[in-house]
């Protein structure tokens, strides 16, 4: 299989215009004859479903939450980037493009990223028109802040709830289409399989999570906007329901999975505090604008109260190692530095289980004495409040403790420039695709990508596909649907089987916890090496075996059953974990969020290997437990020069 | 899907609440005037009896206000009953354990307090307006002063009036502020002032109205040689 990204001709700034001009259009009268399935109702899915509905397509939109308004995009705090240059500080589409490619450690597709930077400006306009209450200056114009180490102020925000407000904007647009009957909404519905007819995606199988009914849905094409797979680590900042199932089932039906090993670890999360812990909480990295990161110097007892440790016994290691960027180095760099400190036994905070202390201090004492407590409260009040609620410590008086946590996955289903996967009629948007962030995503770029895909890319490219493709009418009575239904039902029966036979001994969560914290985080987390990955690849099939024979799923298939829902997701994680570890093993270089210990500079920084790995690795399913086949899409850089990232 | 055309303000819950607010305001205004009028009892029998005579000699004023008041009462009561039905059906299965954080004795007393007040008003009218003998054997039409004195000399009648005034106080305490909230004239800037004003007026009515029966019972309002 050759991977054709179908990048349009012409200079980079004209590519999207050219592509749009060459697109086939669907006559308005014909649009209503088409049905489109959108899975997921976050920024990408919600925006796409609403926009496609506005255009006149019949849209069926599915989400596992009880309302499309709750998709996990809602949890993004910091903001959304756009190359508006309202601040007159030298920003431009080019600069945003350049920063994104560089930030992604040169593992993304130039043309896609350029389009993203171009569309960023339209997103802000669209959201403002919808009534998203962005922060404003006294004069009434939009406010910006600098974010995640960017040297220009291009981030638009709604307090610490930007994701929420943008999602509600998309949700409202979607609600408007639901009201006029253009979109049919299926909440509490989980996609359990993709139906492929004659090589094209033509429908999905879902489970109604209230009644347990398995249902088939047919359409002319399918859009997956189902988010990332960070929950494979069990502990992550993702919502509890986030899962890989939709993407993974598409993978099993022939869609390629690209760069699964690219995961982003966010440096400013609240450390783990107990074994019962169910998730990790992220605090906006804007905290690093005013907070100073430190650990006690060697020889100081890490259990000492931080306020009792004198200045000269503190190691402000980010400022020491990266004098130019200091506390504002990119996420991956800051995360790994924290890990190194803790691995050296200089971590702080409580010990959980037999782990070393996993935490570093983020100290606001200087900022408070410089700016006053009120100013700090104005900037970070909600975050400080959240921190205090979770830890019962007051960050105005004692430094915060932070530790990196899995936050975002850059990998995803492979798509071409049109956001179409190798399977015809299967489009993938938002975090679920692999396209724009390369090996590392910059802060405030996820919202930008989700909305760009949803509002401004997919409505065009889906139309182009429908206009250019002759599609036979397919009903759910087609044999392919029957087969997929049977597969799904058989799988559900298998999940319930151990308990029915009295062999169920371990809960789903217990398996998930082991896979996530003991296998994936241990061997495929912030730092990876060959030996660890091989160990993981050995352990995963064993764990999967144990899962299928001893998992205890109580209750029945024909009712609301949260154990069963979880079990299905964990079953997919247990297969997908192998693909992820394999990708991490084969990519024997360090880049962005993927850090291979074998490939580092003498100072311990990530060292890319452009000679051998300047490509997208896209994996093709060959069978459960079988090694997937790797396909490569070479990445060509015409406009950005490949350099070793340096933040010193 | 509800459309603009089908929307009828007075049929909506918000509309019915507005009706309650407006009718409540009318009643409150009346209560206030009624209280001022009654306080003339302290000026002696001549004064208050003349006031009563003046009202009866000006039927346009008396009946005009009675009709307005009657409409206000009916609107208030019927809206309340209709809304109460909605609230009942909005939660047919209640909590096994319930608790409140912001609600006050006053806000919680609105419904049953309203029933108490209706009963009291009927009693009060029977006794001192219609002169139903069973409620006040000594009633003499036109002798407002002595009617009042005879009634309140009996301790348990005074007690009934005092209890009713406490309910009226609670009703006004929450109700007067609610008017501003329900009619949308409240704002964060004014909220505190409206609340204070509502409480102040409620207290004023409480003190003013209670003073009369208490004063009679305590012998402050003279009766010897005036009322037989």
């Amino acid at each position: 299989m050759t991977l054709d990204a179908k990048i349009p001709d012409g200079p980079i700034e004209k590519k999207w215009d050219n592509a749009r001009f060459q697109m086939k259009l669907v006559n308005p009268a014909n649009k209503r004859k088409h049905r489109v399935i959108v899975v997921g109702s976050g920024l990408a899915g919600g925006a796409a479903a609403a926009s496609l509905g506005e255009l006149g397509y019949n849209v069926d939109c599915f989400c596992y939450q009880d309302s499309p308004r709750r998709a996990h995009s809602i949890a993004a705090q910091g903001g959304i980037n756009a190359a508006k240059n309202y601040q007159n500080d030298g920003d431009s589409v080019w600069r945003l493009f350049y920063d994104t490619v560089k930030g992604g450690d040169y593992r993304s597709r130039e043309a896609n990223v350029y389009r993203l930077a171009q569309l960023s400006v339209n997103i802000i306009d669209q959201c403002v028109a919808q009534g998203v209450p962005f922060a404003r200056e006294y004069g009434g114009v939009l406010a910006n802040r600098s974010f995640g180490g960017a040297q220009v102020s291009r981030t638009f925000y709604c307090r610490g709830q930007t994701g929420q407000q943008l999602l509600l904007g998309a949700y409202q647009a979607l609600a408007r289409q639901i009201a006029v009957g253009q979109v049919r909404m299926f909440p509490r519905s989980e996609m359990l399989d993709l139906v492929v007819v004659d090589g094209a995606a033509r429908g999905i199988i879902t489970r109604d999570m209230v009644s347990g009914k398995i249902e088939a849905h047919a359409a002319d094409c399918v859009l997956l906007c189902t988010g990332g797979y960070g929950n494979i680590f069990y502990l992550s900042t993702n919502a509890k329901g986030c899962n890989v199932t939709a993407s993974y089932r598409a993978f099993k039906r022939g869609a390629l999975f690209a760069n699964p090993c690219y995961t982003q670890i966010h440096p400013t999360c609240i450390p783990v505090h107990g074994e019962y812990q169910s998730k990790l909480t992220l605090m906006s990295e804007s905290l690093r604008n005013d907070g100073r990161v430190w650990v006690p110097k060697e020889g100081v007892d890490p259990a000492t109260k931080p306020t009792k440790i004198p200045e000269e016994q503190r190691d402000y290691y980010l400022e020491r190692i990266y004098p130019a960027f200091g506390n504002l180095v990119p996420r991956d760099v800051a995360s790994r530095a924290a890990k190194r400190m803790c691995d050296d036994g200089r971590g702080v905070g409580p010990t959980v289980g037999d782990q070393p202390r996993l935490g570093v201090y983020l100290d606001f004492a200087d900022a408070i004495s410089r700016l006053g407590e009120d100013k700090i409260r104005e900037r970070y009040g909600n975050l400080f409040h959240m921190y205090e609620r979770i830890t019962a410590e007051n960050p105005y008086h004692t430094p915060m403790r932070i530790y990196p946590a899995v936050h975002y996955t850059m990998g995803g289903l492979w798509v071409d420039y049109q956001l179409q996967s190798n399977l015809a009629g299967l489009f993938v948007g938002g975090e679920a695709n692999f396209s724009d962030h390369g090996a590392n995503r910059l802060g405030a770029s996820a919202l930008m990508q989700g909305l760009a895909d949803g509002y401004f890319v997919l409505p065009y490219t889906v139309g182009n596909y429908l206009g250019a493709t002759k599609l036979e009418a397919v009903e759910t009575s087609h044999a392919a649907f029957g087969d997929a239904l049977k597969d799904v039902e058989a799988k559900i029966d298998r999940l319930l089987e151990p308990e029915k036979k009295g062999k169920g001994t371990r809960s789903v969560d217990d398996f998930h916890r082991e896979l996530g914290t003991q296998v994936m985080w241990e061997h495929c987390g912030m730092a990876r090496n060959k030996e660890g990955l091989e160990k993981a690849l050995e352990r995963i099939p064993e764990l999967r075996e144990e899962f299928w024979s001893t998992v205890r799923v109580t209750g029945s298939a024909g009712s609301l059953n949260q154990q069963l829902e979880k079990a299905g997701r964990v079953a997919d994680f247990l297969e997908f974990a192998e693909v992820m570890c394999l990708d991490a093993l084969v990519r024997a270089e360090s880049c962005g969020g993927h850090f291979r210990e074998e490939s580092q500079t003498p100072e311990g920084e990530a060292k890319r290997d452009d000679e051998n790995f300047c490509h997208v690795a896209a994996w093709e399913f060959t069978g459960v437990g079988e090694k997937p086949t790797e396909h490569r899409e070479a990445l060509e850089f015409e406009h950005v020069k490949l350099t070793q990232r340096s933040y010193k | 899907m509800a459309t603009t055309d089908t929307f009828r303000f007075t049929q909506s819950m918000v509309g019915k609440k507005a009706i309650m607010a407006v009718s409540g305001t009318v009643m409150f205004g009346w209560i206030f005037v009624h209280m001022i009028g009654n306080l003339q009892i302290y000026a002696g029998p001549q004064k208050i009896n003349d006031y009563g005579k003046f009202l009866h000699d000006t039927p346009a004023l008396l009946w005009g206000s009675r009709i307005v008041l009657l409409f206000a009462v009916l609107a208030h009561v019927f809206s309340a009953l209709s809304l109460y039905g909605t609230a009942r059906s909005a939660r047919t299965e209640g909590y096994r354990k319930s608790n409140t954080r912001a609600a006050t004795v006053a806000s919680k007393s609105m419904r049953y307090g309203g029933i108490v007040l209706v009963a009291f008003i009927v009693y009060h009218l029977a006794q001192l307006t219609w002169g139903v003998k069973a409620t006040l054997p000594q009633f003499v039409f036109g002798d407002v002063y002595c009617n009042v004195v005879h009634a309140f000399k009996i301790w348990w009648i005074t007690a009934i009036y005092l209890v009713a005034q406490v309910f009226l106080f609670l009703h006004l305490y929450h109700g007067v502020w609610s008017v501003f909230q329900t009619l949308g004239v409240n704002s964060p800037r004014w909220d505190e002032r409206f609340q204070l004003g509502a409480k102040g007026f409620a207290a004023l009515v409480l003190v003013g109205n209670c003073s009369i029966p208490v004063a009679v019972l305590a012998g402050i309002v003279p009766s010897a040689g005036i009322c037989s």
Partner: protein, 256 residues
């Protein structure tokens, strides 16, 4: 960090499915740590019910982000929506709140006929979605927007609009309201858009449509107890209810 653990007696509403008869069941849970969130405490209980093969099975409850923003979680704890801590969803409520108090908890689902129970502590809140569908949006097609700075909006208006927009749609306001009214939820969206210039063209039709839908869903009415404001995890003010009332009155006397 609290090292010690404590024991709880839990009374939890158990109901098999929509329309079925439910009842409060009692469970004992040992080893509760103050650092657990309320939902983690329920996780631990469920793990116990599963491993002990308890005939009732694990307790079903809604939850997702567990950081207080998605609005999916929500139960009534000892008569208070989202539990006793102000401005906090129950996923962010930590058990240390209960460490030194009553060790007996009553956990019930949101109760309102417009929010039917689907199972145990899970309720159906799609009525909220239908209220938004009735008009809680600005009718603007993708692509038809003017430049973001074309309409200046004062900082104070934007901030106040954001105060209203912070609503997470969890339904605690309905759960806590003695009349099961959805006025705080509805008014938050009405006010958010009414406070912004973008929301003006549809301002008065919007409020009528949304209120009509809210009433059709079977929610109760507002008697100004302010219980909603007191339990709202985003501390949304009842001043937005005033705004809704005002706009609805104005809408009703306008011709349009």
């Amino acid at each position: 960090m609290s090292a010690s653990t404590f024991k709880l007696t839990l009374h939890i509403w158990r109901q098999k499915q929509r329309g079925a008869r439910g009842e409060m069941k009692q469970y004992e849970l040992d080893g509760v740590s103050g650092d657990m969130s309320f939902l983690e405490m329920l996780d631990v209980l469920n793990e116990k019910l599963i491993t002990e093969k308890h005939p009732d099975g694990p307790v079903a409850f809604d939850h997702d982000c567990r950081e207080g923003i998605c609005g999916m979680c929500g139960v009534v704890v000892n008569g208070e929506a989202h539990g006793p801590q102000a401005g906090t969803t129950c996923c962010q409520l930590h058990m240390r709140t209960f460490e030194h108090g009553e060790h007996e908890l009553w956990i019930e689902p949101w109760r309102a006929d417009a929010f039917p129970v689907l199972k145990d502590l899970i309720v159906d809140r799609t009525a909220f979605d239908r209220i938004i569908q009735a008009g809680g949006y600005v009718s603007v097609h993708t692509g038809s927007a003017p430049d973001g700075n074309a309409i200046p909006i004062g900082k104070n208006e934007a901030e106040l609009s954001m105060d209203a927009a912070a609503c997470i749609g969890c339904g605690a306001c309905v759960a806590a309201c003695p009349n099961a009214s959805a006025m705080l939820f509805t008014s938050a969206k009405v006010a958010q858009l009414a406070l912004l210039p973008q929301g003006q063209p549809e301002r008065f039709t919007r409020v009528k449509k949304m209120v009509a839908q809210m009433e059709k869903e079977g929610f109760g009415y507002c008697t100004n107890h302010k219980e909603c404001e007191a339990v709202c995890p985003k501390e949304i003010s009842v001043q937005f209810i005033t705004q809704l009332n005002r706009d609805l009155l104005r809408a009703s006397v306008r011709r349009d």
